[in-house]
């Protein structure tokens, strides 16, 4: 595999972690709930997914249980922030930090153990293509499914009644309630869906992308996912593009180093974060555009009675 093939193929699989978690966060935020616990949900699910896959040998089971674990952790957050009306930022952070600790506890006896990764799926004929074959058509099935899911979520928001219900809940929960949408149920489901995808992202990280468990292995990727949602201005296509960009930057840094680029590696390591800051700054300069895309009641608690 040449360097360029490795770079482009690796970009897609690196992007998958970011994209999965960011899509889940997108759905939660679209319903008006800012869940900052993504990093913790991913960590718990990564640990659970690894342990289950390690013991059972089944990646599928590992993913399923990891997804369930992500949902459970997200429900803890949902109960605190949606039912008990706690501040979303504070409870999200608290649940996230709790998740990091919990993941260390779960993975305690599995520290530094490894499992076999699943093989990529080579699509007949297409995978034989020069250059494009290895990049696009020999990826892990999770990579394909994630990008397909991004498309589905984008279409759901745009064209379906369900998408409309979620969006209106995020824009104005009072109006949504008046229209007869079950606001609490929608928010619970959106947060749980976010937990599910964060769980899959964690399982992907610990059983496929880097098939080993080590405490702290999520290493900030959950935070990048949260940033990606803003980066993509709550639009699925832009988030997918952003995920690929981040995958590219995080891999490009390593490749630039291996090719002897005369740029300090500390600077290269911080590139993904610098890009985030620059883009956030650029987006925020245009407040009108910002307001146009951000769910209007994002981060606000909703008590279910009375207008604002």
């Amino acid at each position: 595999m040449s360097t360029i093939e490795f770079f482009l193929a690796g970009t897609l699989s690196a992007a998958t972690i970011f994209l999965l978690a960011a899509l889940g966060e997108l759905v939660a935020e679209k319903s008006g709930v800012l869940n900052l616990g993504v990093e913790g949900m991913m960590a718990v699910s990564a640990a659970v997914g690894f342990v289950v896959t390690f013991e059972s040998g089944s990646h599928l089971l590992g993913f399923a249980v990891a997804g369930a674990a992500g949902v459970l952790v997200s429900l803890v957050f949902a109960v605190i922030s949606i039912s008990f009306l706690a501040n979303q930022v504070a409870s999200g952070l608290a649940v996230g930090i709790f998740g990091l600790g919990l993941s260390a506890l779960i993975g305690r006896d599995y520290e530094s153990r490894t499992i076999a990764a699943t093989e990529g799926i080579a699509i007949p004929f297409l995978s034989e293509l020069p250059l494009l074959g290895p990049i696009l058509f020999q990826q892990n099935i999770v990579v394909y499914l994630t990008f397909a899911l991004a498309l589905c979520i984008g279409l759901t928001f745009k064209y379906t009644r369900l998408g409309l219900a979620i969006r209106s809940t995020g824009e104005n929960p009072h109006a949504a309630q008046a229209l007869g949408f079950p606001v609490f149920l929608i928010r619970y489901c959106a947060v749980a869906f976010g937990g599910l995808l964060a769980g899959f992202a964690g399982a992907y990280a610990s059983t496929i992308y880097t098939p080993l468990w080590a405490d702290g292995m999520i290493a900030g990727r959950g935070w990048i996912a949260v940033a990606l949602v803003v980066f993509g201005t709550w639009k699925t296509g832009r988030i997918a593009f952003g995920a690929i960009l981040f995958g590219m930057v995080s891999l490009g840094e390593l490749i630039a180093q291996s090719m002897g680029a005369r740029i300090p590696s500390q600077l290269l390591s911080s590139l993904p974060y610098i890009v985030t800051i620059v883009v956030l700054a650029m987006i925020s300069t245009n407040t009108a555009r910002m307001r146009l895309h951000a769910p209007f009641s994002l981060g606000e608690t909703f008590d279910g009675v009375g207008p604002r």
Binding site: M1, S2, T3, E5, F6, F7, G10, A14, G101, L102, A104, L105, R108, E111, S112, R113, T114, A117, A205, Y209, T210, P211, L212, A214, D215, G216, M217, A219, R221, S250, L251, L254, I255, Q257, S258, M259, G260, A261, R262, P264, S265, Q266, S269
Partner: protein, 358 residues
């Protein structure tokens, strides 16, 4: 468990509420590690070291381990608690425990402290560091025989002297056999990011390297990539052969047992003296082991001969002539780089392609 113990420790320390009763006849030995104790890696090597003390002294010593302690204020509190609990002999397993540990040592003159990777000393406070570069030099010789592309890859944590001198030792060893060999280095600026370490290893392979060196990565991330990618791979501290059954080049192991045992001996005899302990193959602390069977008998003989020369101090890895990356001669033939220059090394030798981050 470590979360629980951390919380408990933090709670207990606030005021040193409950001291455990200490039996006067047993020596309480405390070990503080910066990462979780796994089957392999840095913290495991430290645990093996104190286990050797236990093996020698049996019931006369009691080992107390607190693992996965972040460097910083948390560590200071927990160290305080360990002293409060009656540990007379403490092993502080990370660079960042230095200042807090030194303060404690000054307040507790009768207790003995060993501290990993640091540079400050006190009468009862010894920093200890391994001369990894000696073992890496021998690994370089073996790598030189097995490489086909004449390109070696290193995944490295932080650009600190300890790691730089190890890469240089590796490069010098390889080029002592085949001067055409070059070395690519990727700095991931993290002790702990297995995903990034694996990506780096793959990038090095894609760039043409066919030997990998996992420089101070505590997880088998790079080692497993080597096995999958068909590249020989070695690492530091503890053997990871089981993660690369066919492609494991070998290990530059640190065996702290002789040093820890000698220090406990000295502590018990009352003649412990704090000094900078920089330990290598002649101290039996740096041990090369688990050589791959693909290395020829002829090369193994050469490696063994070189090892004997280094142990007897007839030869030093950093004997001149030494040429740096820019092609300038740093040390002429017949001279030897001073210890201080190795301990503070901030340059690469000729043959390392990648620039050093500065």
């Amino acid at each position: 468990m470590n979360v629980l113990s951390k919380t408990l420790a933090a709670v207990a320390v606030s005021g040193l509420l409950f001291h455990s009763t200490v039996n006067a006849d047993t020596l309480e030995i405390g070990l503080l590690t910066p990462s979780p104790i796994a089957d392999v890696g840095w913290s495991k090597a430290l645990v093996d070291g104190v286990d050797a003390v236990k093996a020698k002294y049996g019931d006369k010593v009691n080992i107390n381990i607190i693992e996965n302690i972040q460097e910083g204020p948390d560590a200071d509190r927990i160290m305080n608690k360990m002293v409060g609990d009656g540990n007379e002999f403490l092993v502080l397993g990370s660079f960042g425990f230095m200042n807090g540990g030194l303060k404690l040592a000054k307040r507790n003159a009768k207790r003995t402290f060993l501290h990993a990777s640091g540079y400050k000393t006190a009468k009862n406070f010894s920093p200890f560091t391994a001369k990894y570069y000696e073992g890496a030099y021998l690994m370089g010789m073996a790598a030189a025989e097995l490489t086909k592309t004449k390109k070696l890859g290193v995944v490295s944590a932080f650009a600190i002297p300890e790691l730089i001198s190890t890469i240089n030792g590796f490069t010098l060893g390889a080029r002592s056999i085949d001067p055409e060999i070059t070395v690519d280095v990727i700095w991931i600026n993290s002790w702990f990011d297995p995903a990034k370490a694996q990506d780096s290893a793959k990038a090095l392979l894609a760039g043409g390297a066919d030997i990998l060196f996992s420089n101070a990565q505590d997880t088998p991330s790079v080692v497993t990539v080597g096995e999958e990618g068909g590249a020989y791979v070695f690492n530091l501290n503890g053997s990871m052969k089981e993660y690369a059954p066919t492609k494991y080049l070998g290990v530059v192991k640190t065996d702290w047992a002789p040093f820890f045992v000698a220090s406990v001996d000295a502590h018990l005899a009352g003649n412990f003296e704090g000094k900078n302990e920089w330990l290598g193959m002649q101290d039996d602390v740096v041990v090369v082991d688990d050589w791959n069977a693909d290395i020829s008998a002829e090369m193994m003989a050469k490696i063994e001969a070189k090892r004997a020369e280094i142990v007897s101090a007839a030869v030093h890895v950093y004997d001149g002539p030494l040429i740096n990356q820019e092609g300038k001669e740093v040390i002429p033939a017949g001279e030897r780089l001073e210890d201080g220059a190795i301990l503070g090394m901030d340059w690469h030798v000729e043959g390392v392609n990648s620039p050093l981050p500065k």
